[in-house]
């Protein structure tokens, strides 16, 4: 069976006054029905831009999707016009954003914002939409949903606003829920509530989820597959257990080492990653991580490695084997990589 979503060689750039920003540089991945995919990376690594590109939410100009295909149930979303995309957004693929205060309209009641979508998208009557909206609010755990229906966003706490956003995203029964750092602005006890809610809903509704985060902890308990992004490239991907137990890209390795753990006493100094991520205006010719990498060899500064399988279902884009520090075991770049396009 074809995957539910297949992203092929997606490349997004932004034209700015200073030059062309290479935000997403040829990323490919597939998403099976019912799967939860975690996309991890730091600010500016392209994780948000990559999903906004899928949703057709990149402002063009200045943005431009210069290459790639996004196959949803076999059809390329990048070829759809705006009107067709409006049917996809919300009904097929829905999104929850980081800051629920800026994504909710402050002068409309929360209930109205949910029911409006139901009237417009699903053609419900006002009364049906109201009934369904209250059901949705109750489903995401808003207490006294029928009374809170008439509340304005400012009367909700941060956690409740995010619950309302999830209710809104689920209102048209989408196949895929994309959550872009949905818990970053929330406290940890509220984050635990939201993660718990998404897990429950995922089971109940059989939803496919893409969860974007910079927090390697949240993803550990939630995702089945993980993609690690750096400077607009996918540098590593695999099953969640393999990525954490056996990271094969120096960036993933360094990130995991720099994290202190709440369940362990630590006496040692934290491992650091020196320097800063590269400027996306002018990416270096080789591997984007080479300048900060402890393992870098000469080749890393000249050629950007492609994703290659390092184990079953586990790929990394690195010339060096982090276990042996050897760089000669990697296939020459002439070997065609069937797996993934990581062309520059």
């Amino acid at each position: 069976m074809a995957p539910l979503l297949e992203v092929q060689d997606l490349t997004t750039r932004f034209d700015t006054l200073e030059g062309v920003v290479h935000a997403v540089n040829g990323i490919s991945y597939t998403l099976e029905e019912g799967e939860t995919l975690g996309i991890v990376g730091e600010s500016g690594c392209g994780k948000s831009v990559s999903v906004l590109s899928i949703m057709g939410l990149i402002p063009q100009p200045p943005g431009k999707i210069v290459a790639g295909r996004v196959l949803y149930r076999g059809q390329d979303l990048l070829q759809r016009d705006e009107e067709q995309m409006e049917h996809i957004r919300g009904r097929e693929i829905a999104m929850v954003f980081q800051d629920p205060m800026t994504s909710l309209n402050p002068v409309l009641t929360v209930g109205r914002q949910i029911s409006e979508a139901l009237v417009v998208h699903l053609g419900m009557t006002e009364a049906e939409a109201r009934h369904r909206a209250i059901e949705l609010l109750a489903m995401v755990g808003i207490p006294q949903a029928d009374e809170r229906y008439a509340d304005y966003p400012h009367q909700f706490s941060g956690g409740m606003r995010q619950r309302a956003m999830i209710a809104m995203a689920l209102s048209c029964n989408p196949s895929i829920l994309i959550a872009d750092e949905p818990t970053t602005a929330l406290d940890v006890t509220i984050q635990a509530q939201i993660v718990d809610l998404v897990k429950t809903l995922r089971e109940r509704l059989g939803m496919t989820v893409i969860w974007i985060t910079h927090d390697l902890g949240v993803i550990a308990g939630l995702a089945e597959k993980v993609i690690v992004m750096y400077a607009g490239f996918i540098v590593e991907r695999g099953n969640v257990d393999d990525i954490y137990a056996d990271p094969r890209h120096p960036y993933t390795l360094a990130l995991l080492k720099s994290l202190p753990r709440v369940d362990r006493s630590s006496k040692e100094r934290l491992a650091t990653i020196q320097g800063l991520p590269p400027d996306l205006l002018g990416l270096p010719p080789g591997c984007p991580f080479a300048a900060r990498c402890d393992y870098a060899v000469e080749r890393c500064r000249q050629e950007n490695p492609r994703l290659e399988f390092v184990a079953s279902g586990h790929e990394a884009a690195c010339w060096v084997d982090v276990a042996t520090r050897r760089s000669d075991s990697r296939p020459a770049d002439a070997v065609s990589s069937k797996s993934t396009g990581r062309e520059r």
Partner: protein
């Protein structure tokens, strides 16, 4: 702790912000009880962590200790000097020995000032150096925080978040303080940059013998950097202990819930972990519940919890907790 005694004593500290009505004739109709009676000591040379969720009063506690807010009640004794009782010149002289590092490195540096002016501000305020001496001191401070001294005439926008936070640290160090309140110094930074700043703070503590109050909501980082940790909830400290004692044997139901909510980057363990999911949200500090402030969300609350405030008890080994049901 390499301490030789208490540097800062906080006793029954309260900070209530008035809620007023009326435009011309303002009358007070209530109070936000941001800090509602906290007591703790900070030992010389240690890092005391102050953790809790947004709105629990941890930042207000830090600012009230510095007398940036005058407390509603209680005392702050710094090295034998009661900061709440001194004013004017004496307060200013004492403040030289206390500094602060702020959360947001984008908002806490004036964009119109050069780095030299930003870092030398404490030197001018306290009349510690001028002219060539001042420039040399700024260059020295930049070196101390591992920045290039040639950056002296640049502006904040030319630096990354991590570099800006180093500039904030250099400014805090300018007056040679003994005690620094670090108010969420790393929470605005990316993961790979956080470790750089934390290591710098640790090195500076060793080199300069600094004492820190480290305010944060990242419990993993607090476990790494602190010696002792205090947990705050709605204006009160509910538990305080040596860090490993607190993280391995939490007593207060809130501490237990908070720690269980922190995700761990270890998939098999994370899938198995039992979370204590708290119901609802933190109540408003304008109208905290009677008795124990946590009683409305507490999974083990009894009748007494909503009637009487739990006493602050020593359960041994410097582990303190305020709970009727546990310990």
């Amino acid at each position: 702790m390499n301490g030789d005694g208490v540097l800062v004593q906080v006793e029954g500290l309260k900070k209530h912000f008035p809620i007023t009505r009326g435009i011309i004739i303002q009358r007070q109709v209530g109070a936000i009880r941001a800090v509602d009676g906290v007591t703790f000591d900070i030992y010389r040379g240690e890092t005391l962590g102050l953790v809790g969720e947004s709105g629990c009063g941890k930042t207000t506690t830090g600012r009230t200790i510095l007398q940036l807010y005058r407390p509603t009640a209680g005392r702050v004794i710094f090295d034998g000097i009661d900061l709440t009782a001194v004013k004017g010149g004496e307060l200013r002289r004492t403040r030289q020995r206390i500094q602060m590092i702020f959360q947001d490195p984008y908002a806490s540096l004036n964009p119109r000032m050069t780095i030299a002016r930003i870092i030398s501000e404490p030197l001018r305020t306290h009349k510690l150096a001028s002219g060539k001496e001042q420039v040399e001191r700024v260059q020295e401070l930049l070196q101390i925080v591992r920045l290039n001294p040639r950056f002296i005439n640049r502006y904040p926008h030319e630096f990354s978040g991590g570099q800006r936070q180093r500039i904030g640290v250099a400014r805090a160090l300018a007056s040679d303080p003994e005690f620094i309140v670090c108010d969420e110094p790393i929470s605005a930074l990316d993961v790979s940059i956080q470790a750089q700043v934390v290591n710098l703070l640790e090195d500076l503590q060793d080199e300069l013998g600094l004492t820190y109050l480290f305010i944060a909501h990242d419990l993993s980082m607090v476990r790494h950097i602190c010696n002792r940790v205090a947990v705050m909830y709605l204006g009160k400290i509910v538990e305080l202990a040596q860090k490993d004692e607190l993280y391995d044997h939490p007593i207060h139901p809130y501490t237990q819930a908070l720690l269980s909510a922190v995700p761990v980057p270890d998939p098999p363990l994370e899938r198995k972990r039992q979370r204590i999911i708290l119901e609802g949200d933190v109540p408003s500090p304008a109208d905290p519940p009677p008795g124990c402030h946590f009683s409305t969300r507490c999974p083990v609350a009894g009748k007494i919890c909503s009637e009487e405030e739990p006493p602050w008890r020593d359960v041994g080994g410097g582990h303190f907790v305020a709970c009727h049901s546990r310990g």
